[in-house]
């Protein structure tokens, strides 16, 4: 999509005047940004609505029912409008600069990670070779917004929340990174598009079914991802029954809603990441688009439709992940800080390390994955293409000086 907009738009705008080329670029960039921002903002709106609806059903209630028709579709929007109109309060003792800037830091970090997140083959804000790594890294910055909010608020509860967040997120980055390495290792690349494309074909091509180790890795990944985006039962940073509201105790109105958007943004982000890394990304369980020929080889439009279907597929998978997070949140009590750290250091990290080792050995000795090992042939005769990295590695002699 990136190329589509950039090339067409720039050509169109700069048709007449040379000076208009920058304008074309800026317009194209703006459209990209708007698209991504929509994914984050509309996604957050949708998931907040979903959360309320699911929570309602879990608790024998209906959830929102009035705003925007029968199912309360527009409830979040109405809430957003309400939040905008609210007074923007700041404690007198707060550090004005840090207090004001913190929500934007949190939101920007969550948003920036979407830059490298592909939604279908080629549909990505910025194609990065180290996309997985970049996303994890940028997600780590979100913690900074929380810490600054906690420190800048001049409230003891906020400070508690910030310290908890710092300790928790920094700890959970380790097992999270280890878990991510497992599919990266199987794919041989950190390029998310390549990882997604490698899982094309039938459902057993998904990395989660690659071998027993990846299967376990996924659950560890999901646990750690839940912890690193601060969702219950790991939502210690806000822990409303202990810390009033944790790091955002002193926030109100729009600034508070930025934290909220950041939370839901990163929730969706890690779910998409899980879907791409373990659940085949934009490839369905059965490669229907492939069978009926909706791909680039049959023309741009077919490729476009195929990609659209793939994106829908990915979003459905990711939404399922988010729904599980919501489900967990409304079912379980919250862990204590020592238990959270124990879970990370005593369970998640060793398990992830073992899975990493196991998967590495598996790839070394049984490179075709579980199903190839069990001699289950692929009915579609789909063969995996080696990732660019592997090709590069396989041909050292061709390597050129960069």
């Amino acid at each position: 999509m990136a190329e589509f907009f950039t090339t067409n738009l720039i050509e169109y705008v700069s048709l007449s005047e040379a000076w208009a080329t920058p304008l074309g670029y800026i317009l194209a960039a703006m459209i990209h940004i708007a698209l991504l921002l929509n994914v984050v903002a509309v996604g957050a709106l949708g998931f907040i609505w979903l959360e309320r609806k699911v929570a309602g059903r879990i608790q024998d209630r209906l959830g929102p029912t009035r705003v925007g028709g029968r199912f309360g579709w527009l409830q979040t929007l109405a809430d957003g409008l309400k939040l905008i109109t609210k007074e923007d309060l700041m404690p007198a003792a707060a550090d004005p600069f840090l207090f004001r800037v913190a929500p934007y830091v949190a939101f920007c970090a969550s948003f920036a990670a979407y830059l490298a997140l592909p939604f279908a083959t080629g549909w990505v804000g910025q194609h990065l070779n180290v996309a997985v790594f970049f996303i994890l890294a940028v997600l780590g910055i979100e913690v900074f917004g929380v810490i600054l909010a906690g420190y800048g608020s001049a409230s003891k509860w906020s400070l508690f929340g910030a310290m908890r967040e710092a300790a928790q997120v920094v700890s959970y980055e380790v097992p999270l990174g280890l878990c991510v390495i497992v599919p990266v290792m199987i794919a041989g690349t950190m390029d998310l598009i390549a990882i997604g494309d490698m899982q094309a074909g039938m459902v057993w091509n998904w990395f989660i079914f690659h071998d027993p180790f990846t299967f376990i890795t996924f659950w560890v990944f999901f646990t750690c991802a839940t912890a690193s985006v601060n969702r219950a039962p790991f939502d210690l940073a806000e822990a409303e029954s202990e810390l009033v509201a944790g790091f955002h105790t002193e926030y109100s109105g729009l600034r508070w809603s930025f934290f909220f958007m950041a939370e839901y943004g990163s929730m969706f982000l890690v779910s998409v990441l899980a879907a791409i890394l373990f659940f085949g990304g934009w490839n369905g369980p059965i490669p229907i688009t492939e069978i009926i020929g909706l791909n680039e080889t049959n023309g741009a439009l077919a490729g476009y439709v195929g990609n659209l279907l793939g994106m829908t597929n990915l979003i459905i998978k990711a939404s399922l992940g988010v729904t599980v997070m919501i489900w967990v949140r409304w079912s379980f009590p919250r862990l204590r800080i020592d238990q959270v750290i124990t879970t990370c250091l005593k369970y998640c990290t060793p398990i992830a390390a073992m899975m990493f080792l196991g998967a590495a050995l598996w790839i070394l000795y049984l490179p075709g994955g579980l199903w190839a090992t069990l001699r289950l042939s692929d009915p579609l005769g789909h063969t995996r293409e080696a990732a660019p990295d592997q090709q590069a590695a396989a041909m050292p002699a061709d390597g050129e000086r960069e």
Partner: protein, 193 residues
Amino acid sequence: MDQINWHTFFFLLSALGACTFALMVVFTSNIVRMAFFLVLSLTSTAGLFFLAGADFVGAMQIMIYVGGTMVLLVFGVMLTAQERFVSLKTSGGTWSLAALAGGALLAVLLQTAFSVDDWKAGDTAQAGQSQTTATRIGLGLLGARFDEGTSGYLLPFEIVSIHLLVVLIGAAYLARAKRRAKPSADNPADRSD
């Protein structure tokens, strides 16, 4: 009018960010704000790395520096805060001396930077194409440099690994839990300054 070189444009943006926030680190006395500006400066630097084609190092910079080291630093700031929003004042003499030395150093460095013609402009047209660096770096760290034909960095890599382990133990030892079994009044080490 010439075409805007977008690589240059983004370079200037990142460079401006990196330099401005670095200056703000120097001129802020509030330690948490300093940390915040340092984060912005380091993130802009990561942008520069991306622009120079070192995407892996750029991501590494964000992950380790910003996500790890800086969080650690802010942690330290919070643990050692004597009163809220710590600021230790520096005397004017120190400032002027530092400015003098810094200015001189900057002049020398800038003069050096622009002294070689070959360095003044590159061929950034190819910068847009993404290149895979992670594999090469990984293999380089393991001692296989297929693109250079030279040996890699296996020994430094191992040394750094050991070094990190030592640091881990050392840091844990330095900030360890101190258990003192029985009070000994004559132990000067126990006395607080």
